[in-house]
């Protein structure tokens, strides 16, 4: 099986650690993952802000880059949902072949590899935010939680109001900053109520938003992408 990594532009530029963790994890599970150099961005920011033409161009580019792979792994629920939900409407002919081969990381681990215990060790108190596009776009269900429950040493604490949006929403965060910040304040309050050391999600863009508020408020709670926890194998600073 030829497996490619779609890192996403946000991870590539701002969160390379998530990409490295994804590669480490997949190699440990025996998957030889390729990184097609020509990849850039899925086009979500353009499409969701109202710039459809740019988005269609990027969707076509995505289809070209990943043609010929059997599976494309995306460590982002939001970018995964963009491909699976919006590409069929934006560029059905060009992307029809690639779309069904695109998997969010937890889908790839559970549905394709059939693994729920990835052999990780992470002795910390963790709470998980399911993120809107993972939950209601890709319908990941409890896949990420099943993976986290099998991590040795990890104490998983439920997040109150987990299914509510954190208020990121791409350019929504700057177009409606007051509402976005109010939503995030409530999310942060819920995170703090769990007493968790680490807030985990399958999407770094939501984590960037919540994490930016967590550090601004000097809470000491750290953010970690699901891939980073699943890649961890020894006692280390989260």
């Amino acid at each position: 099986m030829r497996v490619a990594l779609f890192i996403t532009c946000v991870n590539d530029t701002l969160f390379p650690g998530t990409g490295k963790a994804t590669v480490t994890l997949l190699r440990r599970l025996g998957v030889d993952v390729a990184f097609p150099r020509a990849q850039t961005c899925c086009g979500q920011m353009h499409v969701n802000t109202g710039y459809r033409e740019e988005g269609v161009r990027l969707a076509r580019h995505f289809a070209d880059v990943f043609a010929g792979y059997d599976a494309v792994v995306v460590p982002s629920g939001s970018c995964g949902a963009m491909v699976r939900e919006q590409y069929p409407r934006l560029a059905p002919a060009a992307t029809g072949e690639v779309v069904p081969k695109v998997y969010e990381l937890s889908e790839f681990l559970i549905d394709v590899l059939g693994v729920t215990d990835v052999g990780a060790y992470f002795p910390h108190r963790v709470t998980y935010h399911p993120t809107c596009h993972s939950l209601r776009g890709l319908h990941l269900g409890d896949r990420p939680l099943r993976l986290l429950r099998n991590v040795r040493g990890l104490e998983l604490v439920p997040l109150p109001g987990a299914e509510e949006c954190c208020g990121f929403g791409g350019t929504f965060a700057v177009k409606n900053p007051d509402i976005s910040a109010a939503m995030c304040a409530d999310k942060v309050g819920n995170v703090m109520s769990t007493g968790a050391e680490v807030l985990c999600a399958a999407d770094n863009s939501c984590l960037m938003h919540i994490g930016g508020t967590l550090t601004r408020q000097k809470t000491g709670v750290k953010i970690m992408h699901l891939a980073e926890i699943l890649a961890a194998t020894e006692v280390a600073e989260p």
Binding site: I7, C9, D12, T13, F15, P16, G17, G19, K20, V23, T24, R27, V33, F35, R37, A38, T40, C41, G43, M45, H46, V47, N48, T49, G50, Y51, R52, E54, R57, L58, H61, Q86, C132, H133, R136, E164, C165, F168, G169, G170, F172, A173, V174, K175, N176, P177, D178, I179, S180, A181, A182, M183, C184, M208, H209, G211, G212, T213, T215, R216
Partner: protein, 474 residues
């Protein structure tokens, strides 16, 4: 620009949604009222929907019936007109708010009456009927408890189902004490903010009105084409009073409310109560066919922009809406911004797609409405007729005119993303400048850094790491 009027004062249109919302979000009383009310209804809905094993099938049936009806709307409307006429009613066609208001005012004046009682109706709110009647010397009295609160408080509705959702019990008590006497029977001086006491005061105030008023105005939740029957669902019994007691009944109904047959109604009588009030069955469901027992009955069929919406392949799904408000009650943006921020009688997620379609994208407010959403998808998930609100929002965003600075920024981002080499060079530049990025950004990006830190820019992008290390294998 479309001139469709949607029942809000002109001043509400001068401000964009973000600035309206920014004011509302700082009103802690409003935040408290909205949070408490929306979460209560949201939880009730979730529990009664969750107990139906075939909810998804019902939802798909509702969607299919509405889509079929909308595709054949011309045929069903004519069938409806024939059936209503055969049953002794009169049908009037109104292109827009002005025409509908003119027709209704003419009908009321022809009776010689100067007062009308009203059943809660979104269509008459949409066309601003009460103000239009007042200009003609006719006083319209709202009889739904929440609409009464809004009317007495000289206020605007902020929710489709619960128009006074922004008011607390204490505020309602104040309004009743201060204003009820000006409109009719006054509230008792020892009125408390106990819900039963407030309801009793409203009941006594309204009872006099029902018994003395000769003309009633309603909307309708559904119209059955095969029989010409109109259907109103309500919870207080005020609707039944208005529909049966007065001599003349005038119903103003949007053209998309028609259903082909009584069998179709069965689906919606299950979908609507569970989605709106979180009840298994609706308390008062009134149906009437034409003119009954010597009443005069007039049906005003309202277009007011709906035909234009029907012409839009993506946006037309908004016409499936049965005004249940489930999307408002789950929306994190509505919960914090409140209904008035949307500048239309249709607030929340459905308002964000309906208002700009009916009214057009001409004003700054209407252009900002499709962006009044984080696209979290909670609205689509609860919609009983499966309106993909996020899809319509994104589609409307593509039609809206964008600010110049944003256009330039998006063009620059597009230029970078079009070539992986450009992306790599931009990332390296960012990596070199990482230490010089300030904690607080200037200009429009300060909207991010006012409340949030920006992430540390890494020294090396993922793609450069991959190239340098062979994906970690060197």
């Amino acid at each position: 620009m479309s001139r469709t009027f949607l029942g809000m004062p002109a001043r509400a249109l001068e401000q964009s949604f973000p600035s309206n919302a920014a004011k509302a979000v700082r009103d802690s009383q409003l935040r408290f009222n909205l949070r408490k009310a929306t979460h209560t209804i949201r939880d009730k809905r979730a529990s009664v929907v969750g107990e139906l094993p075939d909810w998804e099938e019902l939802r798909q049936a509702g969607k299919a019936i509405k889509d079929h009806t909308l595709r054949n709307l011309d045929r069903y409307l004519i069938q409806l007109e024939e059936a209503v006429t055969a049953a002794g009613g009169r049908v009037h066609w109104a292109r827009d708010a002005d025409e509908a208001n003119r027709i209704v005012a003419g009908l009321v004046k022809a009776t010689g009456e100067t007062e009308v009682v009203k059943v809660k109706s979104m269509a008459t709110q949409e066309i601003g009927l009460n103000d239009a009647l007042a200009a003609e010397g006719v006083t319209a009295y709202e009889t739904d408890l929440a609409e009464l609160i809004v009317q007495l408080g000289d206020d605007w509705p902020s929710h489709i189902l619960v128009p006074a959702i922004h008011r607390s019990r204490a505020e309602i008590r104040e309004i009743f004490l201060e204003r009820m006497g000006e409109w009719g029977r006054a509230a008792p001086e020892d009125l408390t903010d106990d819900p039963r006491a407030l309801a009793e005061a409203a009941r006594l105030h309204l009872r006099e009105r029902f018994l003395s008023t000769k003309v009633a105005i309603s909307g309708a939740n559904f119209m059955i084409a095969e029989s010409g029957t109109l259907v109103v669902l309500e919870s207080e019994g005020n609707g039944r009073m208005c529909l049966t007691l007065p001599r003349t009944l005038i119903s103003v109904v949007g053209i998309e409310k028609v259903l082909p047959t009584w069998r179709d109604l069965e689906v919606f009588l299950q979908l609507l109560p569970r989605s709106s009030t979180g009840e298994r069955m609706n308390p008062y469901t009134s149906t009437w066919t034409g003119a009954t027992e010597g009443q005069d009955f007039h049906l005003v069929l309202l277009d007011n922009g709906r035909t234009d919406v029907l012409a839009d392949e993506v946006g037309r799904q908004a016409l499936r809406c049965i005004r249940c408000s489930a999307c408002l009650n789950v929306c994190p943006v509505y919960e914090r911004a409140g209904g008035h921020a949307y500048g239309s009688v249709y607030p929340g997620p459905i308002g964000a797609i309906l208002t700009p379609q009916l009214r057009g994208l001409g004003s700054e407010l209407d252009r900002s409405l499709p962006y009044a959403s984080s696209l979290c998808g909670a609205c689509y998930e609860v919609c009983p007729v499966a309106i993909d609100i996020p899809q319509v929002l994104v589609d409307l965003r593509a039609k809206a005119r964008h600010p110049r600075a944003e256009r330039l920024g998006m063009a620059a981002a597009g230029w970078i993303f079009n070539r992986p080499g450009r992306l790599a060079r931009a990332q390296r530049a960012g990596g070199r400048l990482r230490r010089f990025v300030p904690k607080r950004l200037p200009g429009p990006m300060s909207a991010w850094t006012d409340t949030r830190d920006i992430p540390d820019i890494p020294r090396e992008s993922f793609r450069d790491w991959w190239d340098r290390t062979g994906g970690g294998s060197r």
